[in-house]
């Protein structure tokens, strides 16, 4: 039998779509008894002014911790405990790294996010993850 989902990774960015994917992941946790891992990635690859850079990053970090806390509160209401990560760097690369580190079996992503250049049907990050990840991907629509 194929492996059941022991570890589920949910990358969140604070958009409606990521909330949806979080809900879906909760359902899966209930059914499969798996552990949940939340991750927020502060994107560092955006070309921004050198002067603004520090300030911009602190704002992003604050936003990230906010989003993670909100998600964690939601999970605690449902009685689910999750590991929480705040990473910095390229979004897709960091997600891949944590997948390898934590031995995740499934990534749950929304079909779109906060990305500025969102394609009409599938976001750029979701697309990259589904193309290049080594584990199964569930795309919530």
């Amino acid at each position: 039998m194929t492996a059941s989902f022991k570890n589920i990774l949910v990358p969140i960015d604070g958009s409606i779509y990521s909330e949806k994917s979080l809900e879906r992941a909760c359902e899966l946790v209930d059914v499969f008894d798996s552990s949940l891992i939340l991750i927020y990635v502060v994107e560092k690859s955006i070309p921004i002014n050198l002067l603004d850079r520090k300030e911009y990053l602190t704002i992003l970090r604050k936003f990230g911790t906010n989003v993670l806390e909100k998600a964690n509160k939601k999970l605690l209401k449902k009685g689910i405990t999750a590991k929480i990560f705040l990473k910095e760097g390229n979004i897709v690369n960091e997600i891949e790294k944590t997948v390898k580190k934590e031995k995740c079996d499934l990534i749950v992503v929304g079909n779109k996010g906060l990305g500025s250049v969102s394609r009409l049907l599938l976001g750029s990050v979701s697309n990259k993850i589904s193309q290049s990840s080594s584990c199964s991907v569930l795309i919530v629509k």
Binding site: V31, S133, L138, V140, K141
Partner: protein, 143 residues
């Protein structure tokens, strides 16, 4: 709380990856007490859809029916209800259309990452990619 995936679509093409996808679909169906719909698409070049002689090629249709009956046996072993559907047409387009059709009430599509289509992308098959983009239902890509 019951999970909402009651009807799971598993497209088949006879490759190893699609069998893996089917196994995963059966696994999920067992957890959520759902049913699996297996969809086998026979590739027909577009011109044959107009040309009447295109459908005289019955041999490959039996191949697909064999595939579906194998899938049925596989699901029956695990105690899951499986309904088979055979369609002739363009795989990606027809799978996406089948999934989006509200009549079919599909809750989730489970698809293997690579099939046996000739266009070899390194990471993801062309059909999986097409379904991923065009389907309005959640898609699980099994690797």
């Amino acid at each position: 709380m019951a999970i909402k995936t009651k009807k799971i679509l598993a497209p088949l093409d006879g490759s190893k990856n699609s069998i893996r996808g089917l196994d995963m679909a059966i696994h999920i169906a067992r957890q959520s007490q759902g049913t699996v719909v297996a969809l086998a698409v026979k590739t027909v070049p577009g011109i044959y859809a107009i040309h009447p002689l295109g459908f005289l090629d019955f041999n490959s249709m039996t191949e697909i029916k064999k595939l579906l009956s194998e899938a049925k046996v596989r699901a029956a072993k695990k105690g899951i209800d499986l309904t088979g559907k055979a369609i002739a047409g363009d795989p990606g387009y027809d799978i996406a259309r089948f999934a989006n059709n509200p009549k079919n009430k599909i809750d989730m599509v489970v698809i293997g990452a690579r099939g046996r289509s000739s266009a070899k992308e390194i990471f993801l098959g062309s059909v999986s990619n097409y379904v991923l983009h065009k389907s309005k239902k959640p898609v699980l890509v099994v690797k």
